[in-house]
């Protein structure tokens, strides 16, 4: 009698078997019903406008569809085309150029500023605000004024170059200088973000460590490399991951200042996705490009997460 054996093993004779219903109880079931109500508005929206599109983007990347004629299934053709697409590789190259140009400089400057501004200087609030303001102002507005600052003939930047006797530069019209111009503008825009994050990181380092080091006669240089820098590595890791993700998505400043030009000099991957999807209306190919971008960023992030234990110091 298997049933009887079970009965004696798992419960006292006569006791009802523990079912989910019994365990849940009326109170818990009521709580789950409330939870469904609480979650419904948010979850329906996230399902409809985020989760479903993620899946749909995979399906789309196997289609050839211009939104007008009916879609046709092309298998992996979009991805094959992508591998042979010179412009795709170019835009990837430009995106990497942009990332290498902005991220390390912006991080180093952000850290240096945080160190300098993490002290009770006179007017420190003003200084912090001045560095932070570009982060919050609308990208499109400031990209406009940067276009004007970069103007070859009447721009303020060339005026200063001219004053110091340097040759003037066709910042946005010369294919050599267009990407550096976009990079400089982007460092200006994002620097304050790194400053704020690093300031928060610095303020979380216990003061007693510095006091102890000072008593031991450690120099400022030693204090930085032995205390500040190691204890800031989690912050550095966070800033690095977030910066790389966002710099691979650069779009607005390119759209306003150069439209990917001159030639293709500042054509980045997201600008190319926009061009393919919403100017050429090749929805399948644009989805394949977008998925490829996602995979590249995902792998880059994964590599950083995997290698963090070699250099990130967690207390």
């Amino acid at each position: 009698m298997i049933g009887a054996t079970r009965e004696t093993t798992f419960g006292a004779p006569g006791a009802a078997p523990p079912t989910l219903r019994r365990r849940a109880g009326p109170r818990l079931r009521q709580e789950a019903r409330w939870a469904a109500l609480f979650l419904a508005p948010d979850m329906l929206g996230v399902l409809a406008f985020t989760a479903f599109p993620v899946v749909a983007a995979i399906v789309l990347s196997f289609l050839d569809w211009n939104l007008i004629t009916s879609a046709s299934y092309v298998g992996l053709d979009n991805f094959r085309e992508l591998l042979k697409d010179g412009v795709f590789w170019q835009t990837m190259g430009h995106t990497v150029y942009f990332t290498v140009g902005t991220v390390p400089t912006s991080m180093a400057l952000g850290l240096a500023l945080a160190l300098a501004l993490n002290r009770p200087l006179r007017g420190v609030t003003f200084l912090r605000t001045a560095y932070f303001i570009p982060v919050i102002v609308p990208l499109i507005s400031v990209a406009m004024v940067w276009r004007w600052l970069y103007d070859r003939d009447f721009g303020l930047i060339n005026y200063f170059l001219d004053l110091t006797g340097l040759p003037v530069i066709g910042w946005l019209t010369d294919s050599t200088w267009a990407m550096p111009a976009v990079i400089i503008m982007s460092i200006w825009k994002g620097l304050g973000y790194n400053l704020v994050i690093y300031l928060a990181g610095l303020q979380s380092i216990p003061r007693r460590l510095y006091e102890a080091a000072e008593m031991d006669g450690a120099s400022a240089w030693q204090r930085f490399w032995r205390i500040t820098f190691p204890l800031l590595t989690p912050t550095t890791f966070f800033v690095l991951v977030v910066s790389i993700i966002s710099s691979f998505q650069v779009f607005g400043q390119v759209y306003v200042m150069t439209r990917g030009g001159p030639g293709n000099a500042t054509n980045t991957i997201v600008y190319y996705i926009y061009h393919v999807g919403f100017e050429l209306f090749r929805m399948g190919y644009a989805s394949a490009l977008a998925w490829t971008l996602f995979m590249v960023v995902f792998v880059l992030t994964l590599v950083q997460v995997r290698t963090q234990r070699r250099w990130v110091y967690y207390e």
Partner: protein, 283 residues
């Protein structure tokens, strides 16, 4: 004591060092503000002065009428009103959806809670460019292209905001809600009357970053709208650029008007800006 005194180094050298550093910091700050100042300066010039060399220094009186002309050159007032409408609607919507869902994830027990929450976190990682194309097609199929619906409805939900609200609710002491439950108050009452008022700082952070993202949003409005009647400021500015290719004073005046609401918000809600930006990674 701002600078730790070091042995064997004369105090005057140290003073000189910090003075130099201070000067560098001031010059840096000035450089950071220059683009915005130049926006202001250019916006007050008459058009003919813009193409004069050297660019520094006013040749004539400031032309305040530039700020009147932007409203006539393009329907700029309409763009501003649209942007306010969209940003406020999205902010209100996200506050409701994210606080309700965040509370459910933080406080209520239901089957599959942790799996669903992980899936939520997963969606935060997917970049907007991946979902943008299918979302555009959904808008088209719903007939929402070129309407406020496309600008507002998909922006009423934010897994990131839900995550922030959940994290904040988890830090609140449970005892108050439990006391309310004993008093016979329903779960919704406990949420509405006790948890929500305590979560004001988190709500403010969510409100500020949602408003900011919405105000600065560009790519999505660019692809889903076309008519002037529903155009937002960011897209409107690029139209300005095309229409008035060389009219820098007007373009700068319009750009500055688009910056102002953000600056005003910053003055009043400074600490929520920093909190929101530090925790969400938006730029």
């Amino acid at each position: 004591m701002t600078v730790a005194r070091r042995v064997g180094r004369p105090l005057t050298v140290q003073r000189l060092g910090s003075a130099t550093l201070y000067l560098v910091l001031l010059l840096g700050a000035l450089t950071m503000l220059t683009p915005l100042l130049w926006m202001l300066v250019t916006s007050l010039k008459p058009l003919e002065d813009v193409f004069k060399w050297p660019p520094l220094g006013f040749q004539s009186r400031p032309v305040w009428s530039n700020y009147r002309d932007i409203w006539d050159a393009v329907p700029f007032g309409r763009y501003l009103a649209n942007t306010f409408l969209v940003s406020l609607a999205r902010t209100a919507g996200v506050l409701v959806t994210s606080s309700l869902a965040g509370y459910a994830f933080a406080r209520l027990r239901f089957p599959g809670r942790d799996v669903i929450f992980l899936a939520y976190l997963g969606t935060i990682m997917v970049p907007g460019q991946v979902t943008m194309i299918p979302a555009f097609i959904i808008m088209r199929d719903l007939g929402w292209l070129d309407t406020y619906m496309a600008l507002i409805i998909p922006g009423l939900f934010s897994p990131l905001a839900t995550f922030l609200m959940r994290q904040y609710f988890l830090t609140l002491p449970r005892s108050l809600e439990d006391a309310a439950a004993i008093d016979g108050a329903g779960l919704f009452t406990a949420f509405r009357r006790i948890a929500l008022p305590l979560a004001k700082p988190a709500l403010a952070t969510v409100a500020v970053f949602t408003f900011l993202t919405s105000w600065n949003d560009f790519l999505w409005p660019l692809i889903v709208t076309n008519s002037e009647s529903v155009r937002v400021v960011s897209v409107g500015l690029t139209e300005f650029q095309n229409l008035y290719y060389t009219d820098w004073p007007l373009l700068m005046a319009a750009s500055l008007v688009a910056v102002l609401p953000v600056l005003v918000l910053y003055v009043f809600a400074q600490r929520y800006f920093v909190a929101g930006i530090a925790t969400t990674g938006i730029r």
